[in-house]
Symmetry: C2
């Protein structure tokens, strides 16, 4: 079994109104040192071993569903886990 | 300047309907090997150095705004960045 962590974030060139809203909220709470906030998705997937290379499968899932590759970038990390 | 990566995810005990919906979608796309999906938030903050310890400030921001500590857990990583 694998635990795969997927990080999806807006491309640098894309405006991030949600991030901006959080930055303004932090400023109003006197955290003036915050210069920028960008918000994305963080997903944890538990995936059973198959005969296909894990990387290939996860890449496909990201491209087809988990990320909107027109406006988002994605990266992922995988670790093998022993399930009791 | 620091780049701080914040990961906010639902507590294990909390049902994750969004994660469930993604899992079902992946199954319908024939990715049957996916056993579980949990979805959270991933935030990147650029924070200027101050005289306060960074960890203390970020912890406070998470507890007050970035995470709903009743149902969510958070963790963060910081790296110093040189801004051109």
């Amino acid at each position: 079994m694998y635990k795969v962590k997927v990080y999806v974030s807006l491309r640098e060139s894309i405006l991030d109104p949600q991030g901006n809203a959080v930055k303004n909220a932090l400023h109003s709470m006197s955290y003036r040192e915050v210069q920028d906030v960008r918000i994305g998705k963080y997903m944890e997937l538990m995936i059973e071993k198959t005969d296909r290379p894990l990387e290939e499968t996860v890449k496909e899932m990201c491209e087809k569903l988990l990320a909107n590759t027109v406006i988002e970038d994605y990266r992922f990390e995988a670790e093998e886990v022993v399930v009791q």
